[in-house]
Symmetry: C2
Subunit: 409 residues, 2 copies
């Protein structure tokens, strides 16, 4: 049995006309002899409509009831789409989380999938040619409905593909693949034929939001071949695969950027044990997610600490820091929300020095000052002034020759 998983997002199923396009994609793969699991999101706008209802009913809606409420969005889209399939004579049925069942933990609103009943799904695929599965939803061992959080349908799709050892998991979206950088910023951005899971993780977390990051982690963990492709064209998309030798020949795969950054600098912090914990402990307790952290070497027992947070959490972060300041005499707090993080990503840089130097030189040529630098094995991130964001992306894209296919080079 050759199994394919297809996932379609909210804009792909928003009305009858869109669903008819989805229908073509599904029927095409049926004709090729695949058994299909088609994972659908709620129709565009529906989840927000339901969440607004919850907010009208309660200032702090019960999380379990909220999940039961919003999961109806996917129930509606799967029922409607299955009607279309049945009208075409396809042996199909809708499949809700409790029917699959898709077992999750009990973290309502952001549950994690724990198990699938593989045998049951395979049995159903004997009886049906297409299972139309509600994405985003799960069920606890106690049979309460959960949801997987925003973008959870991607995770549903990759998880079911892993459970069934599907030949491929096609994620249909409104872009036609993963690009070397944002095509809106850089006209010669190139669609990648392939990208490794790790690179995709860095690209996704950097704001190149094509795929929900948890779905990429899932795909990596179970080596699920995932293809990102467009609902509105027939072109092949970008394949997410395991890293292989040929990938290492490519130093840099893409340039990502993230404008949702704000910088906080603490000047003249006493350089003694426990101070860093005294700052980042309260930030964590207040639910502030800290991204980059830099501490310079100290002078005369005093040091500077700089970190970045999401812009919408800047106010909350400053309030926490202010409390710390009152305790640490002489400390000064500076902040700046007009900053941007630009990142160079590629598994190839792991075995090659010189990528960082080449990047800094390219930025320097344009007089772009680098405020912070942070690196991982396959990524170099620089914090720069926001006004230089687009220029920096174009300069780096050019410096690493990303507009040219590595195969033709």
């Amino acid at each position: 049995m050759r199994i394919l998983v297809q996932k379609f997002g909210g804009t792909s199923v928003k009305d009858l006309a869109c669903m008819r396009e989805v229908l073509k994609k599904v029927l095409r793969e049926c004709e090729r002899g695949y058994k299909l699991v088609v994972v659908l999101s709620a129709r565009a706008g529906e989840t927000n409509r339901l969440l607004a209802l919850a907010q009208e009913w309660s200032a702090t809606p019960d999380p379990a009831e909220c999940d039961s409420l919003v999961s109806t969005g996917e129930q509606v889209s799967t029922a409607l789409f299955t009607m279309l399939l049945k009208d075409c004579g396809v042996r199909a049925r809708s499949l809700l989380a409790f029917q699959a069942p898709i077992i999750t933990d009990e973290v309502y609103g952001k549950a994690r999938i724990s198990t699938f009943d593989q045998k049951r799904l395979l049995d159903m695929l004997q009886e049906y040619d297409v299972l139309v599965m509600a994405g985003f939803q799960g069920i606890t061992r106690d049979e309460r409905i959960t949801t997987l959080g925003r973008g959870g349908s991607d995770t549903s799709a990759v998880a079911v593909a892993a459970a069934l050892s599907a030949e491929r998991c096609d994620i249909y979206t409104d872009v036609d693949g993963v690009y070397t950088t944002d095509p809106n910023l850089c006209s010669d951005a190139r669609k990648l034929e392939r990208i490794s899971y790790d690179e995709m993780l860095e690209m996704a977390s950097m704001g190149a939001k094509v795929l929900e990051i948890r779905s990429v982690e899932f795909a990596k963990k179970y080596s699920v071949p995932v293809q990102v492709r467009s609902t509105f064209t027939d072109a092949a998309g970008t394949m997410l695969t395991k890293e292989d030798k040929t990938m290492e020949h490519v130093l840099v795969s893409g340039i990502a950027y993230d404008k949702d950054q704000a910088r906080i600098t603490l000047r003249s912090v006493p350089d003694k044990p426990g101070v860093a914990a005294g700052i980042f402990g309260p930030l964590s307790a207040a639910g502030v997610t800290v991204d980059m952290i830099i501490q310079n070497s100290s002078q005369e027992g005093l040091t500077d600490i700089t970190f970045t947070v999401s812009r919408k959490e800047l106010g909350k972060a400053l309030a926490v820091v202010e409390k710390v300041r009152l305790e640490l005499h002489g400390m000064e707090v500076l902040h700046d929300a007009a900053v941007c993080k630009v990142s160079i990503i590629g598994v190839g840089m792991r075995n090659h020095s010189g990528v960082a130097a080449q990047a800094f030189e390219a930025l320097c040529k344009e007089n772009i000052n680098i405020m912070l630098i942070s690196t991982s094995e396959i990524k170099i991130s620089c914090l720069i002034e926001e006004k230089y964001a687009e220029l920096a992306v174009r300069v780096l894209h050019e410096a690493f020759g990303l507009s040219k296919s590595p195969l033709s080079a």
Copy 2:
């Protein structure tokens, strides 16, 4: 454990303001020490909205998918109402058909409840004070979602009350009880304190549509004490109970009428075996529901047969009859859609003659011609010209002294 079941219809839960009224009714019974199962319908208009979606997607929507679709209406209302309860600190949870579970047969769109998991529900009532149950929906043994048909939430409520041996099942609606006749027609119609299941069955099937008829059958079968009462007042409603001695002292309990009637008369039908079957067999095959049937004694080997059908099925019925006419030479077909059925109902008439005579005399006094008569043990129905409907109801209500309470008589 004292258990009470409360059921609220779509108009009672249509918005936040209405749900707050429902909340008061629920909290009042909680304070009295009851454990509650609160059965909710979808918010008013929601089921029709979902059915319209199904019709947009498919001319003949798959019945199983249609049930999965429309059952979301109750899922939304139960989640929202449970949020309100939780905000009041009540130990509550929503309960969908698959969670209860409410097992039904596989007749999608009009399923019948087969079993409840009584023990599981009782266990939940140990943990929770209020279970907010989605009415109208069920689940097959195969875990597919079904619906119980229009008015199915009444049946859900009575069935769960039977399964839990609840002290009472309160059906909250937009009228405050069952009346001796339609108060819109007859200003001195009186609210009944009690009515037997059998009388209620006749009242309901006659068009006094307070309760869904299947829920009354269920209540009768399991002797569930059901109270029909208003969401918008605090007054006691009408109790449906087993028939008892005191009821037999009352000859007539109520007058019902049904304007959804059309009459078809077949003249000069050959009076020989198999002719009736040759007429009503094809009608049944065509899905036409026949109500009253009268055949007069024959003359010269020919007879007349008259029957009534719902007005919206008159065209279909005439088409069937026309085919029969072509086979039975010489038969003539007459029809009349301007007719109305008026019924006199009461368990007391079982042991008393004279009710029929009294009714015919009352109608005769007003020169109202009776076209057809049909009787059961506790009911006498007369088909009359539609224009006399209101007059006939008032005349009969007066003739049997229904405006006066039998206790004060």
